[in-house]
């Protein structure tokens, strides 16, 4: 299955979005949260992100969702420094994107389909 990684400035935000997505989409999909800095402040950590990707990578690829600016920069920097062919960054809303990605991965889709599902979540209206 395609793994999902959530990187956020806030450890609690990343953990809770992962929990919410798993509750809705099923607990068999590998999902990991990389929130906060190594010393527990608000911010992002390339070390945590790298470890989270390793945790969920089952060989079918990984889709990474980011909350704000430096999460994007951290993720891009990681992939620039250590390119991984089946790891993709989703330009997606953090909550809806995580749920869509997890549900799609749980249905057995490939990594490109999971990426697309995450990115298309921005078009899901709330009303």
């Amino acid at each position: 299955m395609v793994g999902i990684v959530l990187i956020s400035h806030s450890a609690r935000l990343a953990d809770e979005v992962a929990e919410l997505a798993a509750q809705i989409g099923g607990r068999d999909v590998p999902i990991a949260a990389a929130g906060g800095t190594d010393d527990g402040r608000l911010g992002t950590s390339i070390t945590k992100l790298s470890a989270a990707i390793d945790t969920v990578d089952q060989g079918d690829g990984v889709v990474v969702l980011m909350d704000l600016g430096s999460a994007v920069l951290t993720a891009r920097t990681l992939l620039d420094e250590y390119p991984r062919p089946k790891v993709f960054l989703a330009d997606a809303p953090f909550v809806e994107g995580a749920i869509s990605a997890l549900v799609t991965s749980g249905g057995g889709a490939d990594v490109k389909a999971v990426l697309t599902a995450a990115e298309e979540a921005r078009h899901i209206g709330k009303f």
Partner: protein, 210 residues
């Protein structure tokens, strides 16, 4: 410019960032998340430690180690951005032991390209690029005109400082400040301000080592 010059540059940055830590944080409090001063202070403190723990043998190695340390230790946008800038400079310099002004100019251009590729910012977006890009041009012109190194580095510092000040009226289009829209106008961009500190430290490193 030899390895000791580049080590001195990193030390001068660490000193300047420490001295200006509260000022940078105040700038960031106005239009960002008030952590720029403390993030950079911690980051360059780690750089100083890393250089002391395993002293690199070439200028390029100094910059690559500094870049890798910032990427791992900072935790805000400035970590990947400055980290990429120094790593790109370090790659550009290779393992040459004595760097000419022309080589420094090429390396600074590589730093700018790396930052722009990562952050997708252009001049006028109210980011560090607004200080870095004019400094790159000033150094290229100094090399072309054949001015001596001290004057070239003074021109770099002046261009970066002027570029940073010129961000005050701009409305941010990239970074955390862009969420504020028109409220971001009227404040100096903290990333541009710290870039001016970093590049001004080149000149002070020159005074110290020459």
């Amino acid at each position: 410019m030899d390895t000791s010059f580049f080590v001195a540059w990193m030390e001068e940055i660490a000193t300047a960032v420490q001295a200006q830590r509260d000022h940078l944080t105040q700038l960031d409090a106005a239009i960002g998340d008030a952590d720029h001063g403390s993030n950079l202070d911690r980051g360059f403190g780690e750089v100083r430690r890393a250089l002391a723990d395993s002293p690199p043998e070439t200028p390029g190695a100094v910059l690559r180690l500094a870049g890798a340390t910032l990427i791992r230790k900072v935790g805000g946008a400035s970590g990947p951005l400055y980290g990429t800038a120094f790593r790109q400079m370090g790659r550009s310099l290779g393992d040459v032991s004595d760097i000419s002004l022309a080589e420094l100019s090429t390396a600074l251009d590589a730093a700018l390209a790396g930052v722009q590729k990562l952050g997708a910012a252009v001049e006028g977006d109210k980011t560090m690029v607004d200080a870095l890009a004019p400094a790159v041009r000033a150094l290229a012109k100094a090399v072309q005109d054949g001015v001596k190194a001290e004057d070239a580095l003074s021109a770099v510092a002046a261009a970066a400082q002027e570029g940073a000040k010129a961000t005050i009226p701009l409305q941010a289009r990239k970074g955390r400040a862009s969420y504020l829209g028109s409220r971001s106008a009227g404040h100096e961009d903290p990333g541009a301000a710290s870039t001016a500190l970093v590049l001004s430290a080149l000149r002070t490193a020159g005074f110290r080592t020459w």
